[in-house]
Amino acid sequence: MLILECPCCGVKAEETELSPGHEAHLKRFGPGSSDEEFESYMFARKNPKGVHFERWRHSYGCGKWFLAARCTATLEVFGTYPAQTSEPPPDIVARIKARRPEWEGCK
């Protein structure tokens, strides 16, 4: 069972309380952007086997969105952080590097 700590309300929520929102830190493209940029924003996904940053919603709790760093190959959770960020915070990155020295960073 996946357990994520919601950074908004502090509850250690288990999977049935949460809704996944897929890849985090997507750069948005809208009207005026090229077809390639828009396609890449809409559909192309990193889908890594390993460290993944993703959006979650504490839907049966406080209802707020937040972000999580998680390993898709082992289901290890590296930490959660607020949604109002454009890149993973340094403490999360440090924790991932400690656990996964071969990790190449957030591409």
Binding site: M1, L2, E15, T16, S19, P20, H22, E23, D35, E36, E39, S40, M42, F43, A44, R45, K46, N47, P48, K49, H52, E54, T72, A73, T74, L75
Partner: protein
């Protein structure tokens, strides 16, 4: 290759079964091939088989990281159907279903295709309208399906409770020619036929890199060294994104876990396949007597081949209401597979940014039923360099063009 037949059985019975050959060879790789197929699952082996059978290309290697048929080919619930709403889907799945009908004779290998009939239950009024629409669409597509009422459903499946309080059965879409097949035998049969044509099936050989210069693939780096090729076909389901990254492009695909489970074996009690899409459960009975049960996918990205318990719980909770008889059955085994889901839940059979590299992926939760049709279409794409009529609509460029084959909306569920 010695043919399997009743005479072969009689001959071997006389000599203590000492004359059976290995079904396929395990050769060491040659320095290069005309075509390399990455992935010896059903789709990869079928691609190789139809390359040989339809196009006479037999200098082919099928490279597999694990053992053949050990991924999703060995992990699905073996359902075969073609009752799709959208024309491109109906065409390729119906091609696959019709190839399944004669696959045992074609491969000289019993794949145990059992066209026992397939029901998709309508348990809400919305579903009734949706399936009636599908029946009309199938009529136009030449796919034989019909709408039946709850009384007929009850006659076909006496163990079903059609008056459930939450999910009453309001009717069903019936495809009489749908059914099941033995999933491992499909992979084994294709592998044996490929090996007989002189193709190399190389197991325990992981692709670690794709060597490409100037937009052209020259070969693949593997754990058994570099192997050169004139054309490359990537047919690796759950790990499509990883292999595509080696080749330098990104896919509109995310990998999630899909679970299935079987009960303890019981006497024959259900002789059709039943799918209940509102509650996300489907069930059939295997020849051993086990009830084979599947549900919806887990929802987050996952490569672990195991899923969350609460998804199984949801599936079984709903099925117990529809089939009260199963409420005390013990479940024997549960497992997961990694399925590659695209944005519109339809597969990709496509050219790639590399000129001589082709990809077949994105079958999501519905790959097994498509194996022969998918291999047929992929072989044509690889052999000619351009997609044929079956594959034309399934190009990756459909996401840029907004030309979706939107089965996620049409089916409303995993399909």
């Amino acid at each position: 290759m010695k043919r399997y037949s009743v005479f072969a059985i009689a001959r071997e019975a006389m000599r203590h079964h000492t004359g059976w050959e290995r079904a396929w060879a395990s050769p060491e790789p040659r320095p290069s091939y005309d075509v390399i197929v990455i992935g010896a699952g059903g789709h990869g082996l079928a691609t190789a088989y139809y390359l040989g059978k339809n196009f006479g290309i037999t200098n082919v290697a099928v490279i597999e990281k694990g053992w053949l048929g050990g991924g999703n080919t060995g992990r699905n619930t073996t359902i075969i159907r073609s009752n799709y709403l959208q024309d491109p889907s109906a065409a390729i799945y119906e091609k696959a279903r019709s190839l399944y009908e004669t696959l045992s004779q074609d491969l000289n290998y019993n794949v145990m295709f059992s066209p026992r009939g397939l029901l998709m239950l309508a348990q809400t009024h919305h579903e009734v309208r949706g399936y009636m629409r599908t029946v009309h669409a199938n009529l136009l597509q030449g796919v034989e399906t019909e709408w039946i009422g709850p009384d007929q459903v009850k006659r076909l499946v006496p163990i079903m409770n059609i008056h459930g309080p939450r999910y009453p059965v309001l009717g069903a879409l019936l495809q009489k020619r749908g059914g099941t097949a033995r999933h491992d035998a499909v992979a084994w049969g294709y592998a044996r036929a490929c090996s007989a044509m002189g193709m190399h099936i190389i197991q325990q050989c992981e692709v670690t890199g794709v060597r490409a210069e100037g937009g052209v693939v020259s070969g693949v780096e593997t754990t058994k060294g570099f192997i050169g090729t004139k054309k490359l076909a990537i047919v690796v389901a759950g790990h499509s994104g990883q292999v595509a990254e080696m080749a330098g492009f990104r896919l509109p695909v995310e990998a999630v876990a899909l679970q299935a489970l079987v009960s303890e074996p019981v006497k024959p009690c259900i002789d059709v396949v039943v799918m209940a899409n509102t509650v996300h459960g489907y069930m059939s009975q295997s020849d051993k007597g086990e009830l084979v049960i599947g549900g919806g996918t887990d929802s987050f990205n996952n490569f672990t081949q195991r899923g969350s318990f609460h998804h199984i719980e949801e599936t079984l909770r709903a099925l117990v209401e529809t089939f009260p008889i199963i409420s005390r059955l013990k479940m024997l085994r549960q497992w997961g597979g990694i399925v590659d889901m695209t944005g519109d839940r339809s597969p990709i059979i496509s050219k790639t940014p590399l000129g001589n590299c082709f990809i077949n992926c994105g079958w999501g939760t519905g790959g097994f039923k498509a194996i022969p049709g998918s291999g047929w279409a992929m072989a044509e794409l690889v052999a000619k360099g351009e997609p044929g009529p079956l594959a034309a609509e399934f190009g990756m460029d459909r996401f840029r063009a907004g030309r979706f084959i939107d089965e996620s909306v049409a089916a409303g569920v995993a399909h």
